[in-house]
């Protein structure tokens, strides 16, 4: 196979961090080449450079032997480079058709002649086996189909090289296999694919070669057939990796901390509902809630965090009925809540560290009395937490926006965990964090579990759920499909549950 793409000596520096340091990368025609590395290894930066979203400080790019300059996504598209982003670059209110058409002239001057274009796109979609509903609005389509729209768009612009950034992050196991089928078909028809991932098993399954990046540097390029999972993991992280977290077995305490009984949340628009959810969390255990984003997790979190009142059902905490409690009251009952989106739900970005740390305590003694704040005590409190949780910052007056993602998460952990909560509700705790911050978070959670707290861990990261939880529940379409002790989890069973098959149906068979 001929070399299609060669990137040489690519260097990109951002203030405070070297994202890429003299990275070399090459892709052959018709190959599926995986780009492997942890969060922050430099994979996305490298591909952003290739796709024209940003420009390198040094280095050059050659396509089919010719040096090229890529200064914008338009340049990249003209050169036949297409990208399917991790967070889809699709306009939610547009239809699939409109999204594919956007940015190109439809061949008839300035006029939008959608019907003619639709026919052409239909044919193209069939050629590559892409099942797409062209008239539906993107926001109503399942994520797998949205991804196919992005793929079609890249192909319509004549992409010979397709970059896929963490494409399986939001797919069910079935959809992953469907995607792999599409990628193989693309390879057959001569397209090259760069498959960015941090999931070793998928890399091993689909790719022809794999390049590993670490800390912004190129570490190795191997033929996938000759690599093992252990080897790749070690190259990725730089040290022998324990692929699962050290966890002592749960003390099976019978004390039921949280009981959710037949909770319903019904909404007008029909999305994000709960249709009779029941679950229990015991003291001293972690219950993991797996499921594809958008199957009711948000509604469940809102109910448990006191933001939404269920239309039916009951929530009991330590024997007390807390259905419809306010977040304040839950805080009083020693429930800690770690939100899924740090920046918009957990922090006040423009305010200082001490103000953020005081969010759960400013209205009580000793931080305030009769509505008047005791600033000195609040500052001392903040300084104590900063040192206890090792938050790297020059002082507590600084705005939270200056902290790194990991330190921001530590701030939230400090605020929620310092008063030794009985129950923790944790949502996507390590999204966007690097390895160090992730390990820290896991350690803290396990500490609390070992001390007898109960944790409900909602996450779309299956690896996280499997390594931390004592029991795993799966939510789909607003209902619990079943619960399995984590030691007995079978990935294909999980996958079936995540796509709507209840556990009983599977065990019956």
């Amino acid at each position: 196979m001929d070399t299609l793409l060669r990137m040489e000596g690519i260097t990109k520096v951002y203030p405070g961090v070297v994202a890429n340091h003299e990275v070399a990368f090459e892709v052959a025609e018709g190959e599926i080449h995986a780009l492997l590395g942890e969060n922050g290894a430099g994979k996305t930066t490298l591909m952003n450079i290739l796709f024209g979203m940003t420009t390198p400080d040094a280095g050059r790019i050659l396509l089919s032997g010719e040096p090229v300059r890529i200064r914008s996504p338009r340049d990249a598209a003209e050169l036949g480079i297409g990208m399917v982003h991790q967070h889809f670059m699709l306009v939610p209110r547009f239809t699939s058709l409109q999204n594919v058409v956007l940015g190109t002239s439809t061949g008839t001057g300035p006029w939008l002649k959608l019907k003619a274009v639709a026919r052409r796109l239909q044919a193209l979609a069939e050629q590559y086996g892409l099942d797409i509903d062209f008239d539906a609005e993107i926001q109503d389509l399942p994520l797998g189909m949205q991804q196919r729209v992005e793929i079609l768009r890249a192909l319509d612009r004549g992409a010979g090289l397709l970059i896929m950034d963490e494409p399986t992050a939001v797919l069910t196991p079935d959809e992953v296999q469907m995607l792999f089928g599409i990628l193989r078909r693309l390879a057959e028809q001569g397209h090259a694919t760069v498959f960015i991932s941090h999931k070793l098993d998928e890399v091993l399954e689909i790719s022809d070669r794999v390049t590993v990046l670490r800390d912004g540097r190129h570490v190795a390029t191997l033929k996938t057939g000759e690599a093992t999972q252990q080897q790749l993991a070690r190259l990725m992280v730089g040290r022998p990796v324990v692929l699962s977290v050290e966890k002592s077995p749960a003390q099976s305490l019978d004390r039921r901390l949280l009981e959710v009984s037949d909770v319903w949340v019904e909404r007008e628009h029909g999305r994000d509902q709960l249709r009779g959810v029941s679950l229990n969390v015991h003291a001293g255990e972690i219950l993991g809630m797996a499921g594809i984003d958008g199957n009711g997790q948000r509604a469940l979190l809102e109910v448990l965090c006191g933001l939404t009142r269920p239309t039916r059902g009951q929530v009991t905490l330590k024997g007390i009925d807390v259905t419809g409690c306010t977040p304040r009251q839950l805080g009083d009952l020693n429930v800690a809540r770690i939100p899924e989106d740090r920046r918009t739900m957990g922090l006040l970005m423009a305010l200082s560290i001490w103000e953020n740390l005081a969010l759960q305590s400013y209205f009580r003694e000793p931080h305030s009395r009769w509505g008047i704040l005791h600033l000195g005590r609040m500052a001392a409190f903040a300084r104590r937490l900063v040192s206890e949780f090792d938050i790297k910052t020059p002082g507590v007056e600084v705005a939270v926006s200056t902290l790194s993602g990991g330190n921001q998460q530590k701030l939230i952990l400090a605020r929620e965990l310092h008063h030794d909560p009985d129950l923790l509700i944790v949502a996507n705790a390590t999204r966007g964090l690097d390895v160090g911050a992730t390990e820290y978070t896991y350690r803290r959670l396990l500490e609390h579990r070992d001390r007898g707290a109960g944790i409900l861990l909602v996450s779309s990261d299956l690896e996280e759920i499997l390594s931390l939880s004592d029991r795993v529940a799966v939510i789909h379409g607003g209902k619990i499909m079943g619960e399995i002790p984590s030691g007995e989890v079978d990935p294909s069973v999980l996958g079936m549950m995540m796509t709507g098959t209840p556990l009983e149906a599977l065990t019956r068979a």
Binding site: N48, M53, T54, S72, P73, R74, A77, M83, H85, F88, M89, L90, V91, P92, R93, F94, Q98, N99, V101, L102, G103, T104, S105, T106, P110, W111, L112, R153
Partner: protein, 311 residues
């Protein structure tokens, strides 16, 4: 009393006046829709309109030609819009505060320029637009005199509304505008220049709002009075929301508000026992009530008001 009311509402004069008063709102809101669809809101619409009014008057004064005045008014609006565009697109500053600042600044500047040019006491009458009956069309019973015996600005308005609707919903450029206002990052990733699209939309808005401003100086009062736009720029902002960001619907809503204004004037003139303040406050009360009534049932462009900075 009932007799009087019927006389008010069922007269050709009333309907014709409604169309006339609707003109600046229809044009300004069409322009603002283009801008807001691309994600930029113009709180400074009132100032832009006032600039257009002054520009029109000054242009007509020196050229003694209303059409040149119109051109000058549009240019004035366009220049103000260009400044706003620079602030909020290139500098990525707060759209709302920039707009509020412009209102204040332009009010002062227009007063300053007018007084400097014409002194304290003079208020010259300038070349202006007279109603021009469209041959044939103005003969149609009822519809003719209402819609086709108006000043040329009104006829231009019909064209503007039509063109804006077509451009927005049936051209590739219109699709780009909408994309930039809904999800600028997505638009950028397919090669649409967010900054350029927004610049064009905002400046186009300025040109149209400038045209709307000339209605007051060249189509109604034939001179310039400080603050003569009287809040219409703000009403246009409400019209855009009530019309759910569609130029054709905005023209209809503008007609409604034009009628409200005509009612107010009529009540004042006829001395029906209603204090004139009620009549003059009526358009604002109506705007408020309609806005409250339509709470939440709108399709606002998702990126409206958010500055877009490329990574």
């Amino acid at each position: 009393m009932l007799r009087t009311l019927i006389d008010i509402f069922l007269s050709i004069n009333f309907a014709s006046a409604s169309v006339r008063f609707a003109m600046p709102l229809a044009v300004a809101s069409a322009g603002e829709i283009a801008s807001e669809r691309s994600g930029v809101v113009n709180i400074g619409l009132e100032g832009m309109m006032l600039a257009g009014a002054l520009g029109g008057m000054v242009g007509a004064y020196y050229s003694e030609n209303a059409w040149i005045g119109l051109l000058c008014g549009m240019l004035a609006g366009g220049m103000v819009a260009a400044i706003h565009a620079f602030m909020v697109i290139t500098l990525a500053a707060s759209q709302v505060v920039s707009g509020a600042a412009m209102n204040i600044g332009i009010l002062g500047l227009t007063t300053f320029i007018f007084r400097t040019l014409f002194g304290i006491t003079e208020r010259p009458i300038v070349a202006h637009f007279e109603p021009w009956p469209v041959p044939l069309l103005s003969q149609i019973p009822v519809i003719g005199p209402i819609f086709f015996n108006q000043i040329p600005l009104v006829y231009l308005t019909y064209g503007v509304v039509l063109v804006m609707s077509v451009v927005l919903f049936r051209t590739t450029w219109g699709l780009s505008i909408q994309a930039v206002g809904e999800h600028p990052r997505a638009a950028n990733s397919v090669g649409v220049s967010v900054a350029r699209t927004r610049y064009i939309a905002v400046i186009l808005c300025g040109l149209l709002v400038g045209m709307a401003g000339t209605f007051f100086s060249l189509g109604q009062l034939y001179t310039f009075i400080e603050g003569m736009t009287g809040g219409r720029g703000f009403i246009a902002l409400a019209v855009v929301i009530v019309a759910n960001w569609s130029p054709a619907r905005a023209a209809l809503v503008a007609l409604l508000f034009g009628a409200a204004e005509a009612v107010g004037l009529r009540l004042q003139a006829l001395d029906v026992g209603i204090p004139y303040q009620f009549a003059l406050a009526f358009p604002y009360v109506l705007t408020l009530l309609v806005y409250i009534g339509l709470a939440g049932r709108t399709r606002m462009p998702r990126a409206l008001g958010l500055p877009y900075v490329k990574d």
